[in-house]
């Protein structure tokens, strides 16, 4: 059996889930035995590859770039895993939603709160256009597995990945595996 082609992506989130992933410490070496990392914010890849076996998605869908990427991810991945509360629920990233839309949020961040030169950065490509409402990943594409937690504890990540490597579906039951927050 060849190695699983493994990817992780960082969308609208704080990267805390990836930090927690790194908390797997020495088990990361075991993981490296079983998977080949083909795309990740902790490695240098430019485009999301094809034929990925499992992709961990951290973060909610918050802008146009996320929207584009998530469809590619779904198309190219056998297993898409919503990784952490932002991906699963929208979480902190989605706390801007009740404000009512992208413009209001940009005003709050770049105009109203600034004393010097209040303006929204407008140069091309500087900031991907925000979508009006942040949504969890499964609101856009079908998702195969959900790992709640902000961030998910390393043990929980390991339990899921262990099962995936062994070709089983992880048992998402109980406080250890399911607690949000």
């Amino acid at each position: 059996m060849g190695k699983l082609r493994f990817a992780s992506v960082w969308l609208g989130g704080c990267s805390g889930c990836h930090m927690s992933f790194l908390d797997l410490d020495e088990w990361l070496f075991d993981l490296a035995e079983a998977v080949e990392v083909v795309y990740s914010p902790v490695a240098d890849f430019k485009t999301f590859p094809e034929n990925v076996d499992v992709t961990l998605v951290e973060g909610a869908i918050a802008n146009r770039d996320h929207l584009e990427l998530i469809h590619t991810i779904r198309k190219n991945s056998r297993l898409v895993v919503s990784f952490g509360d932002c991906a699963v629920t929208g979480n902190v990233t989605a706390m801007r939603n009740p404000l009512g839309g992208a413009d209001v949020v940009l005003d709050r961040a770049y105009r109203d709160a600034q004393l010097l030169r209040p303006q929204v950065p407008h140069d091309d490509g500087i900031v991907p256009p925000l979508i009006d409402h942040v949504v969890p990943v499964h609101a856009v594409i079908p998702v195969d597995l959900y790992i709640p937690g902000c961030p998910p504890p390393a043990k929980r990540i390991r339990a899921v990945l262990q099962a995936v490597i062994e070709g089983k579906s992880p048992e998402m039951i109980g406080r250890e595996m399911l607690k949000f927050g």
Binding site: V92, P98, L178
Partner: protein, 237 residues
């Protein structure tokens, strides 16, 4: 007169004035609840404690249904589990329950219920209503984002404190917990600042000022104690 009934096949006896929920609690059988709180009257609103009873074509709330002789109760069927998960998902979608930044994280009955029903994600669209946080009271705060409208605070204020400062305004999804005529908490002229509502709250909707994430531990048992002490002179010291 005692009644004999079965819950999940287990034969138990109960007093005739007991509800299914009370009988189950005495027999150490757990039935999930949200709007129930020992020490307050039951309203049968959250529907988490619905059980199947042989011979009834309707599901019955365990908290308000009295036991009957020979009753066969099932509390944990696949169908009930599916309904309970849907109810919890509806609550999470209805308002802004962000566990990660909630004062009650780790001490929340809604969060616990989500774990119990096996909720790994919410299938419904999040509504993201715009709701306020009332920090006008010097000791307590109210975050409507976290409120599940269980009315435990309303009942605690009315039945245990006797102030009836708190009630519900509006209706349907627009219902809102209010103090007096929808005044900021700090301006309420009837509130005694006794804190019973805060004790009664199952989530992070009511909290002590100064609590930060995961620091707010409710003290709901105090209310049951208070009632027992007042009415039956029972001090479990």
């Amino acid at each position: 007169m005692p009644r004999t009934l079965t819950i999940n096949g287990q034969e138990i006896s109960a007093r005739s004035d007991q509800t299914i929920l009370e009988a189950a609690q005495d027999a150490n059988i757990r039935i999930p609840t949200l709007c129930h709180l020992d020490g307050l009257t039951d309203v049968g609103a959250c529907r988490m404690c619905l059980v199947e009873v042989t011979g009834s074509n309707k599901l019955l709330p365990a908290c308000t249904t009295r036991v009957q002789e020979g009753m066969e109760v099932r509390t944990d069927t696949e169908r009930l589990r599916a309904y309970r998960r849907q109810i919890i998902e509806l609550l999470f979608a209805e308002r802004n329950h962000v566990c990660a930044v909630c004062v009650a994280n780790g001490h929340c009955e809604l969060q616990n219920a989500a774990i119990a029903v096996g909720m790994d994600h919410v299938r419904y669209d999040y509504i993201f209503p715009r709701l306020s946080v009332d920090l006008s009271h010097e000791r307590f705060g109210m975050d409507h984002n976290r409120c599940i409208l269980c009315t435990r605070c309303v009942r605690a204020c009315d039945q245990l404190e006797g102030a009836h400062t708190i009630d519900v305004m509006g209706r349907g999804a627009k219902s809102l917990i209010i103090r007096d005529m929808n005044v900021p908490w700090g301006e309420s002229t009837t509130c005694t600042s006794c804190g019973k509502c805060v004790m009664a709250c199952p989530t992070g909707a009511l909290f002590k000022q100064g609590s930060t994430v995961a620091e707010m531990v409710h003290d709901a048992e105090k209310l049951a104690f208070l009632k027992a002490a007042r009415e039956r002179k029972v001090w479990n010291v």
